[in-house]
């Protein structure tokens, strides 16, 4: 049977810092490129469709010899501020949708900061796993400070200091939130 190595308070605190950084990195994770691109395409396509509806409505009104007002045109395709924004976006991108997407992709590659990319489910699972790890370290830290009288860490977890078991802490949302 293998035994867990016993860590010193300093080592535990180093690991706490490391896990806290991992939590921050995970929280800042973006979507995988394919998912992010798919959402961009969907939004721009939606905007293009709104624009096409607008030109269709205008063409119908013109063909019918109507007096064309902004209210008449916008009431059909952009009855809300959100739709109006989509219409504006559609006017800009609809004539060259594929080219716009390519331009954005090229620009995004230049700006890639190498951050983690995770699906929402993966992100949530990884965060939970890291928070569990962090809490077990904080419990170990609290045990040592309790026994030795060493100074507590400035942002120590009160639940761990009280010795609340991990499962109870998790069920009551007391696992550390790293800001």
């Amino acid at each position: 049977m293998s035994q867990k190595p016993i860590l010193t308070l300093g080592e535990i605190r180093e690991e706490i810092d490391e896990v806290s950084e991992q939590i921050e990195r995970t929280k800042a994770a973006g979507l995988p490129e394919a998912e992010s691109l798919a959402s961009l395409k969907a939004t721009l396509s939606d905007a293009s469709v709104t624009w096409q509806k607008f030109t269709g409505t205008a063409a119908d009104a013109l063909a019918a010899g109507e007096e064309i007002t902004a209210y008449r045109l916008l009431s059909v395709v952009a009855p809300s501020a959100d739709k109006l924004a989509l219409l504006g976006l559609g006017a800009a991108v609809a004539p060259r949708l594929d080219a716009v997407i390519k331009e954005i992709q090229t620009e995004a590659k230049k700006r890639d900061d190498g951050r983690l990319r995770l699906l929402p489910g993966e992100k949530a699972a990884r965060l939970l796993e890291l928070r569990r790890r962090l809490y077990s370290l904080e419990m170990a830290e609290a045990e040592i400070t309790e026994a030795t009288g060493e100074k507590r860490r400035a942002n120590c977890n009160a639940a761990a200091v009280l010795g609340i078991p991990a499962d109870v802490a998790e069920a009551n949302k007391l696992l550390t939130e790293v800001e």
Binding site: S136, E146, A154, A158, L162, G163, I164, A166, K173, L174
Partner: protein, 127 residues
């Protein structure tokens, strides 16, 4: 790491201790603040008396002037000593105030956690 089966009484006892630690820090912080205020008042008085002696010195002649000079010298040393002591007391008061801030934050967080898991009642938490 194993969690003892009787963690609840142990956690309650820790909560009581955290609260009393915070209270002790608060009392100590307040005491040091009062000390700083008294020391500041004492220093201001000593500075004013010294200034008065220095103001009078040019108008005094003879043996009495030598006495005044001697007194100015002694009081200057005393004022400098008091300033150094006040500076050290302020530093200590600042440290204690920070320690109180930390202990109070921890006691509050621990109370919130205890309430959330129903380790204590609202009444007990407020006590």
């Amino acid at each position: 790491m194993t969690t003892p089966a009787n963690w609840r009484p142990a956690a309650r006892a820790k909560l009581v201790r955290l609260k009393s630690e915070a209270e002790a820090h608060r009392a100590e912080s307040q005491r040091l603040m009062q000390t700083c205020i008294s020391m500041t008042q004492y220093l201001r008085t000593a500075e004013a008396e010294l200034a008065e002696l220095e103001r009078r010195l040019p108008f005094i002649k003879g043996e009495y002037a030598d006495q005044i000079r001697q007194e100015i010298e002694e009081r200057t040393a005393d004022v400098e000593q008091q300033r150094a002591a006040l500076s050290a007391a302020r530093e200590r008061a600042e440290e204690t105030r920070n320690a109180y801030g930390f202990a109070a934050r921890l006691a509050n967080d621990a109370t919130d956690a205890a309430l959330r898991i129903r380790l204590v009642t609202e009444q007990e938490a407020a006590a």
